[in-house]
């Protein structure tokens, strides 16, 4: 009889996930969709990683051994596209799906059905992109930047590449809209903007960047498509167009994209360091303003990627100075993380180890970025391995290390089990040492003049390439240990407590581990202890 008086909403509060595989297809639950994004990203890390190992295998010694030059170019292009759009971005959206609602006290994302659609577009986009390997002429080979006219001279893959980029763009924009709406409209009463955890702040700003620049990329590739198939001449000089304009449009998207790939990483690290230093984050408000400043400046630095195209001197100076300006808010962040650790009661569990490695190694990438910002120096560094070393420090020891740190930090909350700390530390030390063996010598190779995107090289570059490849294989294989740790933690292990970490604060740590399928159906009360955390 009591069921007759139960309202539909009350019924929903109690039911769990649907049984069977269809749960994952039709789910509108933010935790399920977060898990889907994270597993998809992990899979793409291994696909993109396999391509990277192919590249390092070929570069292990001079001469052509394993990959013909055209296939090598396909590997470099697809490695970048898969890692950026298939691994790092979906991993951060996975974090946002899991964490944003439970950090701000919302019952779910604002638009749950759109959330399902945002995710399920992705596997189709990447199936289409990866299928190009099996086409006549193979996969895209003109670099992830897709510069015309080279990209228009490839095989049959262009429409597949363009449509895949469109789908990834739609997925990202829908995901970003969902995150903005959730953060602005769904916060629990009392969770004012300046009480939000920093991870939520960094994602709010990232989401605005996504809405602004993913359509720019979509516009650029649409114009490539019409140039190739519909007789337009946007980028065709013979028809009155300008190939350099593509570079302007691409990098107007591309540089904010770099910050899309790093700002959520800043957010994750800003959650982890206070927990293991057992101190509140130093300079919370300055962190928020620094994040917003980085995002704003990211729109006026794009042409530092193209100093060598022959811009007027005034343009080169403008983009040099604006680029150097980015160092100011970034340094604010690095100083704040350091000040948070200063005289803290620090312990060094795996998430903290990865977070500290992030602060040190990301800063190395930041410094080499400053070197590249200097116009006359960039004329020498442009298109060398120095650039490859720079952006891998920022993206691997930056973004990827933060993703790994975040997984170790929140995995016990998500699964209800603690991971194996000994194996986690093994994973950290193997990764931290090998990643430097992999990428640090690439600075030397670049400064000595080794160009990027080549399958063969002069004998003088042999030694450091050998070292780099050894580092690459150790780093790549170490990530199998990461996958083992993640899946064994999902299957079982020591029970995690509600708080998980002694120094953890935040609404997510007021929930049981794992949290129930539906959380915060009633808005929580925001206490001072859980604010800013």
């Amino acid at each position: 009889m009591s069921t007759a008086t139960t309202t539909h909403d009350e019924h929903l509060d109690h039911h769990g996930p649907a049984p069977g595989l269809l749960r994952w297809v039709f789910t509108t639950n933010h935790k399920d969709i977060g898990t889907l994004y994270l597993l998809f990203a992990l899979m793409m890390f291994f696909v993109g990683g396999a391509l990277a190992l192919g590249i390092r295998l070929e570069l292990f010694e001079p001469g052509l051994q394993f990959l013909d030059p055209h296939l090598f170019n396909q590997f470099t292009t697809m490695h970048a596209l898969i890692m950026i759009f298939g691994a790092v971005m979906p991993a951060f959206v996975g974090f946002a799906n899991w964490q944003v609602p439970i950090m701000i006290g919302a019952p779910d994302m604002a638009l749950p059905r759109m959330n399902n659609w945002s995710f399920w577009i992705l596997p189709f986009a990447f199936a289409m992109l990866i299928s190009t390997f099996f086409m006549p002429g193979g996969a895209p080979a003109g670099g992830w930047t897709m510069y015309p006219p080279l990209v228009l001279q490839g095989g049959a893959n262009l429409p597949f590449l363009v449509f895949a980029v469109h789908l990834m763009g739609i997925s990202s924009v829908l995901g970003a809209i969902n995150i903005i709406v959730t953060i602005l409209n769904m916060r629990a009463p009392g969770m004012t903007l300046l009480k939000m955890p920093l991870f939520v702040w960094t994602w709010l700003i990232t989401a605005y960047l996504l809405v602004a620049v993913m359509p720019v990329l979509a516009g650029a590739v649409t114009m490539l498509l019409t140039d190739k198939f519909f007789g337009t001449s946007f980028f065709n000089a013979a028809g009155g167009g300008d190939p350099v304009m593509f570079q302007h449009v691409f990098w107007f998207f591309g540089h904010p994209e770099v910050y899309i790939l790093i700002l959520p990483a800043f957010g994750i690290v800003s959650q982890i360091i206070p927990t293991f230093a057992r101190k509140p984050l130093f300079g919370y408000e300055s962190m928020v303003y620094a994040t917003a400043s980085i995002a704003f400046i990211s729109f006026v630095v794009w042409a530092h990627h193209m100093f060598t195209v022959g811009m007027p001197l005034a343009g080169e100076l403008f983009f040099m100075y604006t680029t150097m300006l980015v160092a100011v808010p970034t340094a604010v962040k690095v100083f704040n993380w350091t000040a948070t650790m200063w005289r803290g009661s620090m312990t060094f569990e795996t998430p903290m180890l990865f977070a500290i490695a992030f602060v040190i190694l990301f800063t190395i990438g930041g410094f080499s970025g400053l070197m590249l910002a200097i116009v006359p120096a960039d004329f020498q560094y442009h298109d060398t391995y120095f650039v490859v070393a720079h952006f891998h420090y920022v993206l691997v020891t930056g973004s990827v290390f933060a993703i790994i740190a975040g997984v170790y930090y929140w995995l016990p909350k998500w699964t209800g089990h603690m991971y194996n700390e000994t194996l986690g530390k093994w994973h950290f030390w193997l990764s931290a040492i090998s990643v430097n063996v992999l990428f640090f010598p690439q600075h030397f190779l670049g400064l000595a003049g080794m160009p990027r995107r080549i399958p063969d090289y002069a004998i003088q570059f042999a030694d450091w390439n050998w070292v780099s490849s050894v580092g690459g294989f150790v780093f790549g294989l170490s990530q199998l240990l990461f996958a083992y740790i993640v899946f064994s933690t999902i299957r079982g292990g020591e029970k995690a407590t509600e708080r998980v970490w002694e120094g953890a604060h935040g609404l997510e740590f007021t929930l049981p581990s794992p949290p129930p399928y539906h959380t915060f159906a009633e808005p929580p009360k925001i206490t001072e202890a859980e604010a800013h955390s």
Partner: protein, 33 residues
């Protein structure tokens, strides 16, 4: 989720979607770069 929040969510999402569509069309038809 109450009806007022649901409507506010949809309204904001539509505005953001139109902004994104606007940037896309701007880049192709009135490229400021």
């Amino acid at each position: 989720m109450d009806e007022t929040t649901r409507k506010a969510n949809i309204r904001l999402a539509v505005i953001l979607g139109l902004v994104a569509l606007g940037f896309y069309l701007l880049m192709i038809f009135f490229n400021p770069l």
